[in-house]
């Protein structure tokens, strides 16, 4: 059955998955449109470089497309896709050749949200905030991957504990414990500026 362009956005996720599995690439394209931002920002939080995050998130969708037969239409598509995104990102981060470059780019992936107007008008305060941002970025970069992942999902993707637990397939208590360890490590790293 032919579907008008505007109607793609109205189809349920389950229907899109089933259509994609039946070979309809436009249905998969609609799934990409729905989740591309989320996948990109998840990757950005994990690898810290916008270019690499774009590359890895697109690669995740390409792999998802190739493996679309194994998607369970009854389960959330993003939870399944996220497993591919995180695996690609962790492998990328573990690669020693990319580690050094990532550390150099670490300051580029966070931006300031606080007091934008007042801070911008005050050069000294501006420089202070930029320094803090660079320190926080680098400290997050140095966190072990599992702690970093939970911190990013909580702080930058604003997910609730239950959502993080479901996404990662871990108990909520583990989410809180990892978050605690991540924040304690950040507190130690940033002791002189907090």
């Amino acid at each position: 059955m032919e579907i008008a362009l505007a109607q793609w956005t109205e189809l349920s996720e389950r229907e899109l998955v089933l259509r994609a599995q039946a070979g309809d690439r436009r249905a998969f394209g609609e799934l990409v449109n729905r989740y591309m931002r989320r996948a990109y920002y998840a990757a950005l939080g994990l690898v810290g470089s916008p270019d690499d995050a774009m590359d890895l998130s697109q690669e995740a969708f390409a792999r998802a497309f190739r493996a679309r037969a194994s998607i369970d239409p009854e389960r959330p598509f993003y939870a399944w896709l996220y497993q591919i995104v995180r695996r690609l990102c962790f492998n990328f981060v573990r690669d020693r050749r990319t580690r050094l470059r990532r550390m150099e780019e670490a300051t580029a992936y966070l931006v300031d949200q606080a007091g934008s107007g007042a801070v911008r008008d005050d050069p000294a305060r501006n420089a202070e905030r930029a320094e803090l941002r660079a320190r926080v970025s680098a400290a997050i970069e140095r966190l072990p991957e599992r702690e970093r992942e939970v911190l990013v999902l909580k702080e930058f993707e604003d997910l609730r504990y239950r959502e993080i637990a479901e996404l990662l397939g871990i108990p909520m208590g583990t989410v809180m414990s990892r978050l605690y360890t991540a924040r304690r490590n950040l507190a130690l790293e940033l002791e002189d500026v907090l």
Partner: protein, 155 residues
């Protein structure tokens, strides 16, 4: 209180502190946290430090990507899929063609009466050695790195 109980209480206190920071503390847990903090005054100091960390990280966000990158996103994904299919076809074709060429080459070599047996053996050994080296390098790239015990160690 046993050492195990103390550890569990400490773990619970940390979880409650996180829930408080993130606005996910239930009403009944609030009283529990208050009680734990009274029993363990050193946690109050830690709670303050963690609150400061939360304050700082909450004031930052992931850098937004320029809007135009989303216009071609699906096209880029689909190009990757196409390229992947292309590579699979090229690899499969190359294996068939190279396999056939090797088969014919070995046949011709064995049938060639002009070449001394020693040279034939040398050519075969050279070819076989190259194949073994190639397989070894590919296998190392694909599997050994996955099992390296020190891959997560920061240097």
């Amino acid at each position: 209180m046993s050492e195990r109980e103390a550890r569990l209480e400490q773990e619970r206190a940390r979880q409650l502190m996180m829930a408080e920071l993130d606005g996910e503390l239930l009403e009944r847990e609030r009283a529990e946290l208050k009680q734990v903090l009274e029993n363990r005054p050193h946690l109050k100091e830690e709670r303050k430090r963690l609150m400061r960390v939360k304050e700082v990280t909450s004031s930052m966000a992931l850098r937004p990507a320029p809007e135009e990158v989303w216009d071609d996103y699906w096209t880029s994904v689909y190009s990757r899929v196409e390229r992947g299919i292309g590579w699979i076809l090229v690899s499969a074709g190359a294996i068939v063609v190279l396999g056939y060429a090797t088969y014919r080459g070995v046949q011709d070599l064995i049938a060639d009466t002009a070449l001394p047996p020693l040279v034939k053996g040398g050519i075969l050994a050279l070819s076989l050695g190259l194949v073994v080296l190639l397989v070894s390098v590919v296998r190392e790239k694909l599997f050994v790195r996955e099992r390296e015990p020190y891959k997560d160690v920061e240097r």
